[in-house]
Symmetry: C2
Subunit: 281 residues, 2 copies
Amino acid sequence: MKIAYTVEDVKSQVRQWKKEGLTVGLVPTMGYLHEGHESLIKRAVAENDRVVVSVFLNPTQFAPNEDLASYPRDFEADTKLCEGAGAALVFHPEPSEMYAEDACTFVDMTAVTKELCGKSRPIHFRGVCTVVNKLMNISMADRAYFGQKDAQQLAVIRRMVRDLNMNVEVVGCPIIREADGLAKSSRNTYLSEEERKAGLVLSQAVKLGQKLVAEGEKSAAAVTGAMSELISAEPLAKIDYVSMVSWDSIEPVETIEAPVLVAMAVYIGKTRLIDNFIYEG
Amino acid sequence: MKIAYTVEDVKSQVRQWKKEGLTVGLVPTMGYLHEGHESLIKRAVAENDRVVVSVFLNPTQFAPNEDLASYPRDFEADTKLCEGAGAALVFHPEPSEMYAEDACTFVDMTAVTKELCGKSRPIHFRGVCTVVNKLMNISMADRAYFGQKDAQQLAVIRRMVRDLNMNVEVVGCPIIREADGLAKSSRNTYLSEEERKAGLVLSQAVKLGQKLVAEGEKSAAAVTGAMSELISAEPLAKIDYVSMVSWDSIEPVETIEAPVLVAMAVYIGKTRLIDNFIYEG
């Protein structure tokens, strides 16, 4: 497995692969990889001749009040996980390699980004769209892999690729959970033992929501209300949002008809966790 | 020469060419082609195995008060010119083929677009960036050709391609002029005989500016002032701007040091014409 630190090193390697007729899968990550990322890499390895994993803690998708500085890092462990999962190349650029001093171009959207995390993180998706657009161009990927845990991000990236006619297939992959249900996240490392237990309210709320919908509940407010009540019973939990939106246009819905995304963001102490489920109808 | 009306038709043709190892040049146009466009196509034909010309009057780069509805069209003449110049494919989509009803993604920039035409046409470059980004993805072009007549557009596209790490080379080509100096433009067709003569003040101002700079004038205000004076002497001319900016970051300059762009937009009657020169220093 190769490690590349510059755009040009990635491009020259990928150009070589393309000349040989090989397909390329991309798994964009911010590092501190866990079994969720691993499942994306393994899926990419199964479906492509070569897999590029980017490990880049992208500053432009964090607001000043967010956790960029404290975000966990362990590049050595990341490279081991990538190698074990069968990646061919890890791209680990400095921010200055990704953003020239006079960089001024951005990719953004006027819809899909407005609800859920877009509400509480208003500049987030501009940063995500721009960096993922760049990583797709750098890796010349045929397919790119994203976890459904960041469901809105998956919808945003799918829309960007469709709207800009990009030559890459976006593959969404299932949420990977701990044995007790907590969705895998690099941010789980922030949790104290007590918070770790409290964090279970997210997956419990997901289960409750799935049960209500499966039983025929048609009111979005009834579903999200019951989920919110469950979460609010946990003293360490503070709800950012529990919402039902259309999948995958991410517009508010009142009644469950077409496919919907039920998503939540919840602070456990100072740590913001997300979880969700998609109901295909 | 083929004519394609859908994104998928272009992509499947280009995929075939790429499989055969052929290079692709793109010439994006809004139609009503003249010798300026022809020179771009011929340059592209000389430098690539296959050339795609897009003929698409892009609505998103026109403001409501601008000339989208009256912009001249002649697709039959356009296809003849493309064929004669050696293009392999003309892409002529309907707006609905380029923009889905729920399209919401755009590409824009926080610099380069602020001066010159960006000042008087505030949404223009968002539309240009987005459609050119799409056309580059659709055509999978190795090189894309733009006239220096739209110098700011050339700078904007270069910056976009650099910032987003796109896999296409942007080639700038010289301004093509009528025998008497008027820069070729599809909008010249709007001019009455009298206005056609008055329009010569633009190229005369270019010549004057070039002379002053060549003679050693270092003050931007002195150069643009003299040019403005020449233009203002023509009763049918109304200046939108005559400006000197850095090339190619398009920031205002007071003193001529590094490469500069001296650019103007002038209304002749109701028709807005542009012209410019670049001084490399």
